[in-house]
């Protein structure tokens, strides 16, 4: 079942065409990787789907309804959760408070001025922390976490929305290889068990080909190739613009 269908999506910044006529679909339970060198337009595409940027043109169909140009908040309410390339969490709060707040926001409780947040949704939040593997740091301020753990909190914050569509912009950037693998495995199992659709970008080619069901290759704002990991790997065009440059982490961005 198609969860997300993007058609003819374009966006320019002062004449720079960051995304051009981008189109793809993501099905329930499927992991689709969007790869490409730095500046290819991956984050721009994510930000249009997530509502952080308004597209110049194109349609973004979530379960068949166009969400292009809606605010991030409304898009979240339709079941899209996301992580950001540069982690965005509530730095002044503890890990569990971050998740509790995200759950409270999902439940539209942010105008409540009475009972403290402290006891609210604590069980659900704890379950999420267990899942992403930061339960033992529940009471630590996010500002004091290691970057890899902040990335895990990002994932928990994305999951708090109970999304049917997960957008993960470089979820493992800045992580050690072993951590990377465990986080990506976690993303994959979550998608399969919840039947969520996942769109992710990743610089680490190995983890892309290990986890993705399908791969989209972007360069200079356009999707230049798509298909099963093996097909894409064999595509000469892809090898030229992307994989060919170095076998390891092309255009690695840190």
């Amino acid at each position: 079942m198609t969860v997300l269908a993007v058609e003819g999506l374009s966006k320019s910044f002062d004449g720079v065409r960051a995304a051009q006529n981008v189109g793809f679909t993501v099905n329930a339970g499927e992991l689709v990787a969007l790869i490409g060198p730095n500046g290819a337009g991956k984050s721009t595409t994510f930000n249009m789907v997530g509502g952080q940027l308004k597209p110049d043109s194109g349609r973004i169909l979530l379960d068949g309804n166009d969400i292009a140009g809606l605010s991030p908040r409304l898009i979240l309410r339709r079941g899209v959760g996301r992580t950001f390339q540069i982690a965005q969490s509530f730095l002044s709060m503890t890990v569990i408070e971050n998740v509790q707040l995200a759950i409270a926001a999902r439940e539209r409780e942010t105008m409540r001025m009475g009972a403290p947040l402290r006891g609210l949704h604590a069980d659900e939040a704890q379950t999420l922390l267990d899942k992403v593997g930061v339960a033992d740091q529940a009471e630590t301020l996010v500002a004091h976490l290691a970057y890899a753990d902040i990335k895990r909190v990002e994932f928990a914050l994305a999951l708090a929305a109970r999304p049917r569509m997960l957008l993960m912009d470089e979820p493992t950037a800045g992580m050690a290889p072993a951590e990377r693998k465990s986080l990506m495995t976690l993303v994959a199992t979550t998608a399969k068990t919840n039947g969520a659709a996942v769109l992710f970008t990743e610089h680490d080619v190995a983890s892309v080909f290990a986890h993705a069901d399908r791969v989209l290759v972007m360069a200079r704002g356009e999707i230049i190739a798509r298909g099963a990991p093996d097909e894409v790997r064999a595509d000469p065009l892809v090898r030229e613009v992307y994989l060919g440059r170095s076998a390891g982490t092309p255009g690695g961005q840190r």
């Binding site: 979240l76 950001f84 408070e97 707040l101 409780e109 403290p116 947040l117 914050l157």
Partner: protein, 623 residues
């Protein structure tokens, strides 16, 4: 109204636009390069005027001619430029990376010091300057008499614009200034000696402020309050024009000059209100002003400054609160009437400061016009009792409701902005309300305010009124604290920590901030209402800039990172005022220096410092 009359108005408007532009161009230049909104710019303007009324007559004694007049004005501006350099060297270069609230407060500290200095040197009376020799008192144009000096000013403004254009296009300094204005990081990357650039910029900017002040002496006397008046107008021009844009400032000055000249024809008492209204409209339609550009580094630059984490009160905290509550509740038993009076005022300020920190510390919104809500509450309570004959109780219910409603209305515009633009708009909004109360004499009593705002009979005794104030303020603070610990406060803080993440988890950031504004406005309105009944009168100082600064200073003294810091700050500042003010006529200097010292040395405030010290102590005791 015939055409020639309109031409005359046009020329008057252009003259005041010219004069305004000269001063505003300096402020916008300094902001563009240093990203500091220099409150002391108004003080530099004032110094320019005072120096000019001192120097110019002496030079005219030597030789009575227009060149001598010009020379005197330039000399005054030059000295002011050097004073600007001194301010940069001593203060500004230490706070370039500090959060906006500290920059604004520190430069306001300079304002306070200069105010005292000016009165020390030149006395409190207005000093009128000489007329410019050789400039006719009036010229007849189309049968209308136009001041000759106005025509001079109309020529000087564009001349300065042209000279600045040359400076920006033809000199290395100009190239660097433009680079820095567009991208501050880039200058660092160019390897330029930033310090020198900033010092030079302060010189030019201050020179322009001084020149603006010096050139107005033939028609406006030098007087001690001119700094605040000009700084509000200059802020408006800078913001409307686009902060950092000199041509923008020129356009904005013309727009405001004309608006005021013609606005005065329609509603004579509306000049101040019009300027601020224009600013509010422009900020909503074009948040970056006429020619300004959004600044990616703005706002992203500073670390979180505010409440960092919330924990329930520990045993020590509970004990301290309990002792404070008992002491407060039993105060009438052991304090004299004067002590009760001070305590009532302190409680009102504490509530207002606590509410301000809901916006600043929790919401990350540096509100620079908090006195507005205090004043609206006070005026609502006062006017309802005196003019409509309402009793105290309904008036005290109406005060927070009205202040909250006004705060919500104005907040609707404010929450769209962030950082320094937000601070400027809160300031403008407060000045707008101030102008309304000041100029709408029929209703508000203007400058004199309204007297006879007395409590109901049952609360007339000091002790009873104290009890009422204590009860209401403590309850309001308790409710606000609850809201901060509730999802509401967390969501507000979340929006401050990360706007992106807040929206992405479903928090309506604008709505959250708007609610915070209304809530803080209502609480502060209650404080204002209580204050009005305790004083028995209301007047515009309750919503003036110095009052807003007092609230900010309370938050700063107590510490923005703690919830109860501002309460402590209110107590300390008010007590200090009460004890020190009668002993010295340099009260403002002390307050100003204290603010500067706090910003430089102790930015976490009293309670923040205490918490830090306790944490360190606890850590050192751990094995």
């Amino acid at each position: 109204m015939d055409a020639s009359f309109l031409v005359a108005q046009l020329l008057t408007g252009l003259a005041s636009a010219s004069s305004l532009f000269i001063t505003a161009s300096g402020l916008t230049l300094v902001f563009g390069v240093t990203r500091i909104v220099n409150f002391a710019h108004g003080s530099l303007f004032m110094l320019g005027a005072y120096l000019a009324v001192t120097i110019v007559p002496r030079l005219l004694d030597l030789h009575y001619s227009l060149p001598m007049f010009a020379l005197g004005a330039l000399a005054a501006a030059l000295i002011v430029g050097l004073i600007g350099v001194a301010i940069e060297l001593i203060l500004l270069r230490r706070i370039y990376r500090a959060p906006e609230i500290f920059q604004l407060l520190a430069t306001f500290g300079v304002v306070l010091v200069v105010q005292d200095l000016v009165i020390r040197i030149w006395g409190p009376l207005d000093i009128l300057g000489p007329r410019a020799p050789g400039v006719p008192r009036s010229v007849e144009i189309l049968g209308q008499r136009i001041s000759g000096y106005d025509l001079v000013l109309i020529a000087v403004g564009p001349t300065i614009l042209g000279l600045l254009w040359l400076l920006m296009r033809r000199t290395r300094f100009g190239v660097l200034v433009r680079a820095a204005t567009q991208d501050r990081e880039m200058v660092g990357a160019l390897g330029v000696d930033q310090a020198k650039l900033f010092t030079a910029t302060l010189f030019v900017g201050s020179f322009l402020a001084g020149l603006g002040g010096a050139l107005q002496i033939p028609f406006k006397p030098a007087q001690p309050a001119m700094d605040i008046a000009i700084i509000s107008e200059t802020f408006v021009v800078t913001v409307v024009g686009g902060m950092g844009s000199i041509p923008g400032a020129f356009l904005a000055a013309i727009a405001i000059g004309l608006l005021q000249a013609f606005g005065a024809l329609i509603i004579p008492e509306s000049t101040l209100v019009m300027a601020f209204l224009l600013m509010a409209v422009v900020l909503v339609v074009r948040p970056w002003g006429f020619l300004g550009k959004p600044d990616a580094h703005l706002g992203a630059r500073t670390a979180i400054e505010g409440v960092k984490s919330l924990t329930p009160l520990d045993a020590t905290g509970k004990a301290v609160v309990a002792i404070a509550l008992v002491a407060g509740a039993t105060l009438p038993l052991w304090s004299d009437a004067y002590g009760l009076k001070v305590a009532i005022e302190t409680l009102c300020f504490a509530l207002a400061a606590f509410a301000l920190n809901l916006l600043i510390g929790v919401g990350g919104m540096v509100s620079f016009g908090h006195a507005a809500w205090f004043g609206v509450g006070a005026y609502a309570a006062g006017l309802l009792t005196v003019k409509l004959g309402l009793h105290m109780a309904p008036a005290l219910i109406a005060a927070p409701l009205i202040a909250g409603a006004v705060a919500a209305f104005i907040g609707y515009f404010i929450v769209r902005l962030s950082g320094i633009y937000l601070a400027m708009l809160t300031l403008a909004a407060a000045q707008l309300i101030y102008a309304l109360c000041f100029q709408w004499v029929a209703v508000t009593g203007g400058d004199n305010g309204v007297v006879g705002v007395w409590p109901a009979e049952w609360a007339a005794a000091r002790a009873v009124y104290y009890g009422l104030t204590f009860l209401l303020c403590v309850a309001a603070i308790w409710l606000l604290r609850r809201a901060i610990h509730a999802p509401f406060g967390y969501a507000l803080r979340g929006a401050r920590d990360s706007h992106l993440r807040a929206e992405a988890v479903g928090i309506d950031v604008k709505g959250q901030r708007l609610a915070a504004f209304a809530l803080a406005g209502a609480a502060t309105g209650l404080a204002g209402g209580l204050y009005a009944f305790s004083k028995g009168s209301i007047d515009p100082t309750l919503l003036s800039i110095p009052m807003s600064i007092d609230f900010l200073a309370m938050v700063l003294i107590g510490g923005v990172q703690t919830l109860f810091g501002p309460v402590i700050g209110a107590g300390l500042l008010h007590a200090a005022k009460d004890f020190i003010m009668p002993l010295t006529d340099l009260w403002r200097t002390w307050l100003g220096l204290t603010i500067v010292a706090l910003v430089l040395a102790f930015p976490q405030g009293v309670l923040g410092g205490l918490a830090q010290w306790r944490a360190r102590f606890a850590r050192s005791r751990k094995p």
